[in-house]
Symmetry: C2
Subunit: 443 residues, 2 copies
């Protein structure tokens, strides 16, 4: 059997590796447009800030490494046509057009940065940051910059803006919506992060779109809300990723509202064609409807499922909760499940509470404040949690992910056992303090 | 209604506070032998090491604070007799014998340090560390010490030994059993902590009991295994805590193998008498039989349940998993559920795997090694987990506590979503890497 995987990112490469771990004999070829494979795009902001020395450090493996595992990787190669009836695809590589037969095809085509229709978005000095090549261009350009504008205050936008701040630049983070991280944080929680970032010296402009980027060949200024013009040497568009669907459409895979439709085995609607990563839709565990989960972890987990399916093992990709975390400067923040707004938009009544606790026993040196918001539905079932602190956020998000997955309500979690020692936690865990506050609203 | 609570520790005081939170009218009196209340005994080692400045810092509340909440606290007072038929108790306070009526009685009598029958255990310079007064005596005595022996390598013993090491003393940690933390860690995991502690300069003697403490009035040397005599200026007995059962026996409460028997509402066998904390038995969630869970967190959670029961609210104390964590120096380690040995002693076949992962993305600065051991039963159901690393241990233990509580097997956890960002985790969480290794043994 021959498996061809299109795409060499967090969906494609782990699919290849996982198949090989299970089966020594399957022929595996990965075809990717990129010249780098198996790197962590999430790490690009940290290379920009010089926290990580070089882009080479975030490339975990080369095509040669995969060759040792008997996995063929064709970089700088683009698939241009797929004939799934004949099980044959056409691709260009080093200027040549070639064909390749396959038995099973995996679409791990990822997505492309969304470029908003702003006049001037094509000027030199306007960048997206999707892959290492983008990162390298930015790292070069930035050498001559003083004023930088990042538009889009999702995680990537914030991480990149903070990286530039660390380089000593004058940075403006611009977001069309009235708050940062609108997908994952409630306004009151987002406000805490916003205040921190302002305190670190970032200019934050909310609720106003960039309406024009001006310049003669290259960026010179940015106009916000049609009126407010400010000098800029560089603009970063961190305005989201759109699934790359060309090949899927060519093959005739069913496409949903946003991306390729797959079942929980990562099978598309077309026989012998599978899909994973940023180009597919996932199933939302709370809403019980499709969603889009463009996270590296989602891609990696889907790759595991896809490899199990292809090799005939038991496989199942679970519904997602889009748990996320990041750390900017000293501040770590994360979230899982639905925000209050998103729940209400989906006709779910919410009961929530936000508390302030500590990361260690109150009396223990360097105990840091921890803000926690827990969101329940009208029956007390936990449907979301958001946490901000200087330490110990990520794993609490994971505990809440499991709690939501298992359908726990705030009363269940209140009775749960938590490990305690003064240097690492409070005697009553902050999560319990939070759910206890929510519980009171049900009395 | 009048509730009298005997004991002012992590069981007694929270019972009082929780009752008051629910009901403004119940009369509440706490009677305690101690002169301090509402402090954290877990924090004593950190005061000894000067990490926390003073014993005053770990006292969270005074009797006056409770008075403001209309809770009467009698310190330095000892209950000597209880007549539950008459609902009347006798106590001594400031040399006077007094009586008090009650409607409901809560036994939060805690436990006493076990003093092993070692010749010389009564010499000056031999201490137990159970309460602040013990801590103060030790802090005074230590000023003239050079060589210190701590016997008993459970958490408290290790924390105290490390505290003395931080003061620059020559410290020997002695454990009768062949490994440290025998209740919570497997030998291979305990060995990692042992090596760390040795590297920090502690002398560790395992598998050999102290057979004699020698000295003329005060400690001068310690004899190990009847042969090996070493100089010592101080000996700390960290050899466990025995439940204080005198009053419970006097009242006629049913006593189990170790302590007072209570149901999941914290009711004893005697009407209107309740018990919480170190003096009661808990129910082990995995073994489905009674156990003893002498943890501050257990006492605090039982207090919550007890207050709910007394005030007529829905209440249920769940079976325990004895999750624990501590941090000594840079090293954090924790565990939940059964060790391999303990499982096998209880006729549970185990399948386990130990892996080494990282606390952050491999390429991210200061990523630390993380050792994880996951223990499953013969069906793959998770029954124990032990973790050691320099960061981010406690909350992963909590996630595993919830996983065990919910009856998850290693395959379930393998599919779980974890939050990821390079500065705070690996793209595939160490817990998933660990359960995946265990899973392989079931193929």
């Amino acid at each position: 059997m021959k498996v061809v995987i299109i795409g060499g990112g967090a969906g494609g490469m782990p699919t290849a590796s996982n198949i090989r771990k299970i089966d020594k004999d399957i022929e595996i070829t990965v075809i990717t447009r990129d010249n780098y494979i198996a790197y962590s795009p999430c790490a690009i902001p940290y290379v920009l800030s010089n926290t990580i020395e070089s882009f080479d450090d975030i490339v975990m493996k080369t095509p040669e490494d995969y060759k040792e595992k008997d996995i063929e990787v064709l970089t700088n190669s683009e698939v241009t046509d797929v004939d799934n009836d004949k099980k044959e695809l056409t691709y260009t590589s080093e200027g040549e057009v070639k064909t390749m037969k396959y038995d099973k095809l995996v679409l791990a085509t990822g997505g492309n940065s969304f470029i908003p229709p702003i006049p001037g978005a094509d000027l030199d000095g306007v960048f997206k940051i999707r892959n290492i090549n983008d990162g390298k261009k930015v790292k070069e350009w930035i050498k001559n910059c003083k004023n930088v504008v990042v538009t889009g205050a999702g995680l990537i936008g914030i991480e990149i803006a903070y990286a530039f701040k660390e380089l000593g630049l004058n940075v403006t983070l611009n977001e069309m919506l009235p708050q940062i991280v609108p997908r994952s944080l409630d306004p009151d929680m987002a406000e805490i992060v916003t205040e921190y970032l302002k305190g670190e010296g970032l200019n934050i402009v909310l609720g106003k779109p960039i309406t024009e980027i001006k310049g003669d060949g290259k960026v010179e200024s940015v106009v916000v809300d049609s009126t407010d013009e400010n000098p800029a040497d560089m603009v970063i568009l961190a305005t989201g990723v759109r699934p790359e669907l060309n090949l899927a459409e060519m093959i005739g895979c069913d496409i949903g509202r946003w991306a390729i439709l797959v079942n929980d085995k990562m099978e598309t609607s077309v026989k012998d064609v599978y899909a994973v990563g940023d180009c597919v839709e996932s199933y939302d565990a709370i809403l019980e409807s499709n969603t889009i989960s463009q996270l590296g972890t989602t891609a990696v987990r889907q790759a595991k499922t896809c490899a199990q399916t292809i090799t005939g093992k038991k496989s199942k990709f679970n519904p997602v909760l889009n748990s996320m975390v990041t750390k900017v400067g000293k501040l770590e923040f994360g979230a899982v499940g639905l925000t209050t707004n998103f729940a209400q938009q989906n006709n779910i009544k919410t009961v929530s509470e936000k508390i302030e606790a500590f990361t260690r026993a109150r009396y223990y040196p360097n105990a840091k404040p921890m803000d926690i918001k827990v969101i329940c539905d009208a029956d007390g079932k936990i449907i979301g949690c958001q946490i901000i602190a200087e330490e110990r956020v990520a794993e609490r998000i994971d505990t809440m992910t499991l709690a939501i997955t298992e359908g726990l309500d705030c009363f269940d979690l209140s009775n749960m056992e938590f490990a305690y020692a003064p240097p690492v936690s409070m005697v009553t865990d902050p999560l319990v303090l939070a759910v206890d506050e929510v519980s009171k609203k049900f009395n």
